[in-house]
Amino acid sequence: MHRCFIATITTLIVSLNAWSQMNYTEDGYRIPTEFPTFTFPRDHGSHPDFRIEWWYITGHLHAENKDRYGFQATFFRYALKPNAAAGSDQFGDEHIYMAHMALSDIDQKAFYHEERLNRDGWDAFCSTERMEMQNGNWSLVQDAENQIELIATIQEEVQLNLTLDPAQPHVTFGENGLSKKGAETSACSWYITYPRLQIVGDIILNNKSIPVEGEAWMDHEISSSQLSKTQVGWDWLSVRFDDQTELMLYILRDEDGNPDPHSKLVWISVDGKLTHMGPDDFSWNVLRRWKSPNSQSNYPVETTLSGLRPDGSPYQLLIKPLFDEQELTGELGGIAYWEGACDILEKGKVVGEAYMELTGYNESLESQLR
């Protein structure tokens, strides 16, 4: 879930959410349906008959000297017309490709990020055969062994050369394979996730090569419309616990400030079993806010999450950012959001690594969404 890109295009989407018929939006885009039958590796690739699609990786990296880093790599596709072709060499006729890349240098409290915006034509594409994306010199490619290679730079300061290996099979969120985001028929997605990817590779930071290892989370979401009219933003969280279980949470915020009933918390057991819970099953409390000097957004960067686990045991987790200044300023897309590396603490002890996304805290965005 999450994804700031939605915000960029929300104005368009909202109008389309009015109603849809059968499995297509009014203007001809496919709508995801229940009980999808995926074929991999093809379905890790692009689905041009849907309007919106993204591949979203967030993870934690550790250097030999114990230095810590967080990173985010996102590739978006947005179709400009229904039934868009996959590989047109005409400029900008079919798709827009956006991509975001960020690196958090935890010890130095330094945040590097870059955005990309390209049309199809030559310098950006998504394959329909497998997970293979390119945006400028950034690429994300999965090979036949399911290993994923991420190569990217952030300006001239950072280079990421990471190999991500699924430590668990992918899962599909949502009841009956369909992740609902709102009351409208079209407000849904197919949501495929690798909850735990083992990482090896290196980062080059300011001309210095640093070998790293770590773990990451990867989402692949396919939809044609997601939010409903009354939603103004969302908080999203992914957690990889030390006990090899995972958690995913998204809270869709309505304009009155309350969680939308379609908000979800999902537990993933060690054997990949999913347990979906609604907004009544957990409690999300803001402990501290951080005001961005860039966007003036007041982000709830430190929160607690509490409720009952699938086995009925109670929990209270503290989501603590590794540092506050992890905002993507939205220079190209125009929408600022916070996406940061966090630790998960329970009873004062670190029990896992997390990434949290906070969107819709910018006033201008809220007014746009309304």
């Binding site: 400009l80 006729d93 310098d123 730079t153 001309n207």
Partner: protein
């Protein structure tokens, strides 16, 4: 102490005779002004273009293109792959030309103003902020924050300058000719001045890349890709890697250069032109040197008694010489400062004329005003001061070496014996002039040559002729003697010419130089005009000529679609048609033209003026057994690339490298970059471009060309349809525009000649104040004195005129056969502009008479001790 003496010696004189001081400063100012204005205007006209798309996109670090033709978009990923993971932002660019009807400099509809239409990926443009940081962001910031409509066929983003040119605001529609179509475009937004440099000064249309691709009928191709390397500490290292990767590219398919090299290449393209202009304007300063010399000498004469007094008081000759030189530098500095100001004002007018020339010959420039330039100003001022110093040297030496008693006696200048043999040196320089014209040109860059030998020859010839003609003035009294009995005026004039002074010789020398230059320039222009007229007569035989509006411009990118030229060709009124598929290409690193000539006619003498005719009939579309295709080359092409008939060349095309064999060499005065002619179908296929640049139709007998012209103009508002007569007139107009600056330089030459004569006479009468007093006492009227001085001056003028005309023939020869040939590669037929030369002579004579008589009349009341 020295300052005090200097003040008394120089400033007192300046105060007492302000007229002469002002005249002296004015002369220096004029020389500096001419040099500065021409160089400034020239710089403005050439830099007006300067890849304004660079300022639009913030200036790419590298520019990648193909050796010839466009880059298919399908090949662009290859470029990205070549650069691997290097963080380089790539921005493909398409350029087209938009002609704006009704914005021309005159009311003629053909004279539509042209604007370069730049197609950029308006979305990818935003990525430049990653390479340039937010301060140098080249995002499409608009005044009204308009939404950008991707791919829209009518949405145009204008610079402020373009909006002012069109008098339009956001939302307004306007018409533009793009390709051969008239299109209605809409102002989507006006770019914020300051965000883009271009916003302030250049008229640019910006559209989304696919729209411009569609307009140019090339939906899958771009002209070039600009590469941007991010700013920051690792920039140099990344740039090094980028260059290494680019080196690995197949050079037959890709060419690249750093953007500063591109700027240099643009400048190199016009280097010869700019240097020619500089030298011509510099020559006028050298002629001005003669004027300054005259004026400073006159000052020595007037202040001779003062010098004598100083010498008598014990001041050393070295001190006096130093004072004179300091005075020269002072005058030079003041004159230069004034000259810079005048020059800057003059440049504002001259820039238009030079911009037209640059437009016609090289590329599109939008310059309309010349900016103050410190570098040029320093150069011009230095020239002014150095010339003043040089000019002051001889009078200073003369003043310092004059014995006190002689100085006080006010003896005539130049009557002292001199060891300098003018005749010997004149002959020696003439010999040098002859030898210099054999020197080969200096290679500046590929295809650009500087005719050093030609200029040296011209300089030696002018100097030599000036020296010789001064010596020849000795024959003047001999010529006058048979008529001496007729009047006292003649006798007095003959008497003065018998006692020739250095000043007489100098006057004639200066006139020879000035008239020689002016008449030489006239010969060049006449020869050019005659040749071009003959060429037009030979090549422009069709009844109607069709081109996309504004196509006269060398950098025009508009073309006629295949559908259009085929429709015209099939018009029932058309008997036959010649269609030109002309591609601007880069060959061996220099820009030139590949011409695909679609014609039913043979490649024969009816179509071309041969410099070297093919030895047999050419089967133009078929390769010979070795796979080489036949080609013709223009004379400029032959000169630039050192190719002759029988030679082969390797031409890179989008379809691969083609081997061509030169079958013939023809005269072409249409451009100086040269033309390579190949069969039209071959060119169209190699470049996958069937658009045409021009179309010439021969109509069926009995069809009225005017009627067809009117019909076609109505049917195709994007096309300019000219009748044979109209096109010829147009060519002559362009021709005249091209030589507008030369005419101005010619006028300055004549002005200098007459001013020099006036100054010389002025100095002479100042020296002869006592004689004039005696003449008045024995009953000479003011008219008598004026008449005798007129005869003396007229004789000097006639000798100057004769010498000038004779040397102008040599200069004309050098300009036509050496300087022009080496600079542009054009063979011109030498022609003497008899009418113009007669007019010039008559003008000089009349001006001389008026000037001499005026000076004589004024001087007739001079008192012996009066200081002026």
């Amino acid at each position: 102490m020295e300052l005090m003496y200097l003040s008394r010696f120089t400033l007192r004189h300046a105060k007492r005779s302000p007229t002469t001081t002002i005249a002296l400063v004015a002369i220096i100012a004029l020389g500096v002004a001419v040099l500065y204005s021409v160089r400034l205007a020239n710089r403005a006209a050439v830099s007006g273009f300067q890849l304004f798309t660079q300022s639009l996109s913030g200036g790419g670090d590298l520019i990648v293109s193909t050796p010839s033709g466009k880059i298919p978009t399908s090949k662009l990923p290859e470029l990205r792959r070549a650069l691997g993971t290097l963080p380089v932002v790539m921005l493909p660019v398409v350029e087209a030309t938009a002609a704006l009807p009704g914005t021309g400099l005159d009311s003629d509809d053909f004279d539509a103003k042209q604007i370069t239409l730049v197609g950029l990926d308006l979305m990818a443009l935003r990525n430049l902020s990653n390479a340039r940081g937010s301060s140098g962001v080249i995002t499409l910031q608009t005044q009204d924050q308009a939404d950008i409509q991707l791919g829209a066929n009518d949405q145009v983003y204008l610079t402020q300058a373009a909006a002012e040119l069109l008098s339009v605001d956001v939302g307004d529609p306007f018409n533009a000719i793009i390709g051969d179509q008239s299109r209605t475009l809409k102002v989507a937004a006006i770019l914020i001045p300051g965000e883009l440099d271009a916003g302030k000064k250049e008229s640019v249309f910006l559209m989304d890349l696919p729209a411009v691709q569609r307009f140019t009928d090339q939906p899958n191709a771009v002209d070039r890709v600009d590469l941007f390397v991010p700013e920051g500490s690792a920039r140099d290292q990344i740039m090094e890697h980028v260059l290494e990767r680019l080196e690995q590219l197949d050079s037959q398919q890709w060419v690249w250069m750093r953007s500063d090299e591109q700027r240099q290449a643009t400048q190199a393209m016009t280097a010869a032109f700019r240097m020619n202009l500089t030298i011509l304007s510099g020559l006028s300063l050298i002629v001005g040197l003669y004027l300054i010399l005259q004026a400073l000498e006159a000052a020595v004469v007037r202040r001779r008694s003062e010098i004598g007094t100083l010498r008598a008081l014990g001041f050393t000759p070295q001190w006096i010489q130093r004072m004179w030189l300091i005075e020269s530098v002072l005058l030079g500095s003041i004159g230069s400062a004034l000259g810079l100001l005048i020059g800057w004002l003059l440049a504002q007018g001259t820039v238009q004329a030079i911009a037209r020339t640059v437009n016609a010959l090289y590329m599109n420039t939008t310059a309309t005003a010349a900016r103050w330039d410190a570098q040029e100003a320093t150069l011009a001022a230095l020239m002014g001061i150095v010339v003043s110093l040089l000019a002051g040297w001889v009078p200073a030496k003369d003043a310092a070496s004059t014995p006190p008693i002689q100085a006080i006696r006010q003896e005539r200048l130049g009557t002292q014996k001199t060891h300098f043999n003018h005749t010997k040196w004149g002959l020696l320089l003439a010999a040098f002039a002859w030898l210099a014209h054999f020197l080969p040109p200096v290679e500046l860059a590929v295809g650009n040559r500087f005719p050093l030998g030609g200029y040296l020859s011209a300089l030696f010839a002018l100097t030599g002729a000036a020296m010789l003609s001064g010596s020849l003035l000795r024959s003047a009294p001999i010529l006058l003697s048979p008529f001496s009995a007729l009047s006292a005026h003649l006798r007095i004039a003959a008497g003065q010419l018998k006692r020739l002074t250095g000043r007489h010789r100098l006057t004639v020398a200066g006139m020879v130089a000035a008239i020689g230059m002016a008449a030489g320039m006239d010969i060049l222009i006449h020869s050019f005009e005659q040749t071009v007229t003959n060429w037009i007569g030979h090549t422009l035989k069709a009844d109607l000529f069709v081109a996309v509006k504004g196509v006269e411009n060398a950098s025009n990118r508009n073309k006629m679609s295949e559908k259009t030229w085929k429709t015209l060709k099939n018009d029932p009124n058309v008997e036959s048609a010649d269609i030109g598929h002309i591609m601007p290409i880069s060959f061996k690193g220099a820009p030139t033209f590949l011409v695909g000539m679609r014609s039913e006619r043979e490649w024969d003498g009816n179509q071309f003026i041969w410099i070297e005719a093919p030895d047999r009939k050419i089967n133009r579309s078929q390769p010979d057994p070795s796979g080489t295709y036949p080609a013709l080359i223009s004379e400029s092409f032959s000169q630039r690339y050192a190719l002759r008939s029988g030679d082969t060349l390797e031409l890179p095309t989008p379809d691969g490298v083609k081997t061509l064999r030169v079958k013939g060499l023809f005269a072409d005065y249409g451009n100086e970059r040269g033309s390579l002619v190949v069969d039209s179908d071959l060119v169209c296929n190699w470049f996958n471009d069937r658009r045409a640049l021009n179309f010439a139709a021969t109509l069926k007998p009995g069809v009225n060309p005017e009627e067809v012209r009117n019909q076609w103009s109505k049917d195709y508002p994007g096309l300019t349809v000219r009748t044979n007569r109209a096109l010829r007139a147009e060519v002559i107009t362009i021709f005249n525009q091209t030589f507008a600056v030369t005419h101005a330089l010619k006028a300055i030459g004549i002005l200098v000649a007459i001013a020099g004569l006036a100054l010389a006479l002025f100095s002479l009468v100042m020296e002869r104040r006592r004689e004039l007093e005696v003449q008045r006492e024995i009953g000479f009227s003011r008219r008598d004195i004026a008449s005798s001085l007129t005869i003396e001056g007229l004789f000097m003028s006639l000798y100057g005129l004769l010498g000038g005309l004779i040397i102008s023939i040599w200069l004309g020869y050098i300009l036509v056969f050496v300087i022009n040939k080496q600079s542009f590669g054009w063979t011109l037929a030498f022609g003497l502009p008899a009418g113009n030369l007669w007019l010039l002579s008559a003008g000089i004579i009349v001006a001389s008479i008026v000037t001499c008589y005026s000076v004589g009349y004024w001087s007739s009341t001079l008192e012996a001790d009066k200081e002026v």
